[in-house]
């Protein structure tokens, strides 16, 4: 394998029903930085049916090139059809780095493609950099349950691949004046060769939307003591119009369902106000909330790492502070004689 044949940074542009996933645009932003450092083009590659109109959006968000594989069989994501598309593109154009969003489909595709390309894949990355001297991708992620970061390298195989957590990287502001090259790749696929069929796609945003759409999140940790004490966080959330989330510990203890877990193996959130209550701030949790605008931490332990990422910290007992806070809001409501609450994202 001659590494010099491999040039360029590629981003998998995930689209569902003709709409590009947010994480793909974020990765164009992150990929742009890597490509500039390496002085190579940044490309987005896009698979689907009737997807040509999306190419300009990919360029506006920072790509120099867009590779398109358009075919009716690619209408809905399926591992077998999509990976055939990728396996047609990658060995031909030989990018040195490929990034995928760490969504169900992005992770599924990257895992299958890595096996066929016989190359390394780093999962759920939260930091990306590149060493310009040896052109190595430095993909870092929380490891060992999340109290430490590990930088994973792929020295002897190309391309170097990583899946990247949504909402961790920043998308560029779209520039519709940008120009780029669109390369259409034809592919032969037959529906009768497919061993899986997507019969129905059901959008059920009820639970997940709660965390994603909340302007204010009240997140509790194991320091709440028990599931009864945890209930006061619901009272706070109800009072101010917030949504409740929890740490991995809390979910594993069965106090909350997994959909409400915030962190590396749960949701990544970016609300306006984030209450981190009685939680220590393990790295695996922090990667899921550190981009929130205003972070308020309440913890008994003055040395808890959550205070490092908090905008404001209160060293104190949540069981004392939170009821007082609820009381203040309720009193204010009575004084004003009306509603006082935080709006939800529209």
């Amino acid at each position: 394998m001659n590494f010099d044949d491999y040039r360029g940074v590629w981003v998998f542009i995930e689209q569902n029903g003709g709409k590009i996933e947010g994480v793909s645009l974020e990765l164009l932003g992150a990929g742009r930085k890597l490509a500039d450092k390496l002085q190579v083009p940044l490309a987005g590659f896009l698979l689907g049916s009737g997807i040509k109109p999306l190419a300009n959006q990919v360029i506006a968000y920072g790509a120099d090139e867009v590779y398109l594989v358009d075919h009716p069989v690619l209408k809905d994501y399926r591992t077998e059809s999509y990976m055939k598309g990728v396996m047609q593109l990658v060995p031909k154009y030989k990018p040195e780095i490929i990034l995928y969003g760490a969504t169900p489909n992005g992770k599924d595709l990257a895992s299958a493609v890595a096996t066929d390309l016989v190359t390394g894949l780093t999962a759920d990355t939260t930091m990306l950099d590149v060493d310009v001297d040896n052109r190595l991708l430095e993909a870092s992620r929380p490891a060992f349950g999340g109290n430490i970061m590990a930088t994973i390298l792929c020295k002897k195989h190309r391309p170097q691949m990583a899946t990247v957590r949504p909402k961790v990287m920043k998308a560029l502001s779209p520039d519709t004046g940008r120009t780029g090259k669109i390369i259409e790749e034809s592919i032969t696929l037959r529906e009768e060769d497919m061993r899986t069929k997507v019969l129905q796609i059901v959008n059920d945003v009820t639970k997940k939307a709660n965390l994603a759409d909340a302007h204010v999140i009240v997140c509790g940790g194991k320091g709440m003591g028990d599931v009864q004490n945890f209930q006061i966080l619901y009272e706070l959330a109800d009072t101010i119009g917030a949504t409740v989330g929890g740490t991995r510990d809390v979910v594993e203890a069965g106090w909350l369902p997994h959909e409400l877990q915030i962190g590396q193996t749960g949701e990544t959130v970016t609300p306006k106000i984030y209450f981190a209550i009685a939680l220590s701030g393990a790295i695996q949790h922090v990667v899921g909330m550190k981009n929130s605008d205003l972070i308020i931490a309440i913890n008994k332990d003055p040395n808890a790492p959550i205070f490092d990422v908090a905008t404001y910290g209160i060293v104190g007992d949540a069981l004392e502070i939170v009821p007082k806070l609820i009381q203040q809001f309720k009193q204010l409501r009575t004084e004003k004689g009306g509603e006082i609450s935080y709006a939800r994202k529209i």
Partner: protein, 275 residues
């Protein structure tokens, strides 16, 4: 119907500690358990077998003491177990792991043809979720990841109907067997093990294979040698300076916090009904 469930022994990450001096995992600090997602995979196989009949085999790769997770799987209801254990497997990343398991699955498939493979969504020590799809690619069978329900198994048509979790909702997929599923925890509840299973598990000795027991193995693809990814460095991210501490008595702290919260006017709605 022959179902193979791939299981892994993992340290209980709820309890495990990191040695602050060496930044490495202190494995002695945590008990080794059956990866929780894999327990749900075994349970799902048991539920399927109740409807279709057949046999459940479990397969694990790990050190000799990983027989414990095979015994645990027998407790949940698996019929038989295989452990592949060999120094040559050590240090495997996801690519080398899927290769080793693939070689074992080929051999199991010769003994009893495999219809369905079930894995947990990911292991809690690595959190990658990459081994399942990797095995499927090597066997050239379709993978379906993030499964939240096995709706129907049709033995005549040799198909399964599956609900797969998506970023926003789920999809209904029909897959031809043999295929490979990776399951979410919400797919089922682990049931209490009946007494006969406990007794069977206590006495059970799994089939143990070394590399030399597997056929046509390319040793270069095993373990550390066969792993394209390496850990470059471990680090704790630079601690940000941290924000402002709100000092004072609890009442003073709450008063100051109220001032801060009420400043967030772009998201705060103050609706007076008095007007």
């Amino acid at each position: 119907m022959h179902i193979v469930v791939c299981v892994k022994q993992v340290p209980d990450t709820k309890i495990i500690k990191i040695n602050p001096k060496t930044n490495t995992l202190d494995r002695r600090s945590a008990p080794a358990i059956l990866n929780p997602y894999d327990a749900h995979a075994v349970q799902e196989a048991v539920s399927i077998r109740e409807k279709t009949g057949g046999t459940i085999s479990v397969l694990s790769m790990g050190p000799p003491q990983a027989t414990a997770v095979i015994k645990k799987s027998i407790e949940i209801g698996a019929d038989r177990g295989y452990l592949i254990t060999d120094r040559a497997f050590a240090g495997a990343d996801t690519l080398a792991t899927s290769y080793a398991l693939f070689k074992a699955l080929e051999k199991i498939n010769k003994e009893i043809p495999v219809d369905l493979i079930i894995c947990g969504k990911h292991a809690i020590d690595g959190d990658t979720g990459q081994v399942g799809p990797g095995i499927a690619r090597r066997l050239d069978i379709p993978p379906v990841t993030n499964v939240i329900e096995v709706t129907e198994v049709n033995l005549e048509e040799k198909t399964v109907l599956i609900k797969r979790k998506l970023s926003s909702g789920y999809e209904l997929i029909q897959a031809e067997m043999p295929c490979l599923l990776t399951v979410e925890k919400e797919i089922n509840q682990i049931e209490y093990s009946p007494m006969p299973n406990m007794i069977k598990a206590a006495r059970y000795e799994p089939v143990i294979w070394a590399v030399s027991d597997l056929e046509n193995v390319d040793r270069v693809q095993l373990g550390l040698k066969g792993s394209p990814t390496i850990v470059g460095k471990m680090f704790t991210p630079p601690r940000p300076e941290g924000g402002k501490k709100i000092e004072g008595s609890p009442d003073e702290q709450v008063n100051q916090l109220m001032d801060i919260l009420l400043e967030q006017k772009d998201v705060l709605t103050l609706q007076s009904s008095k007007q």
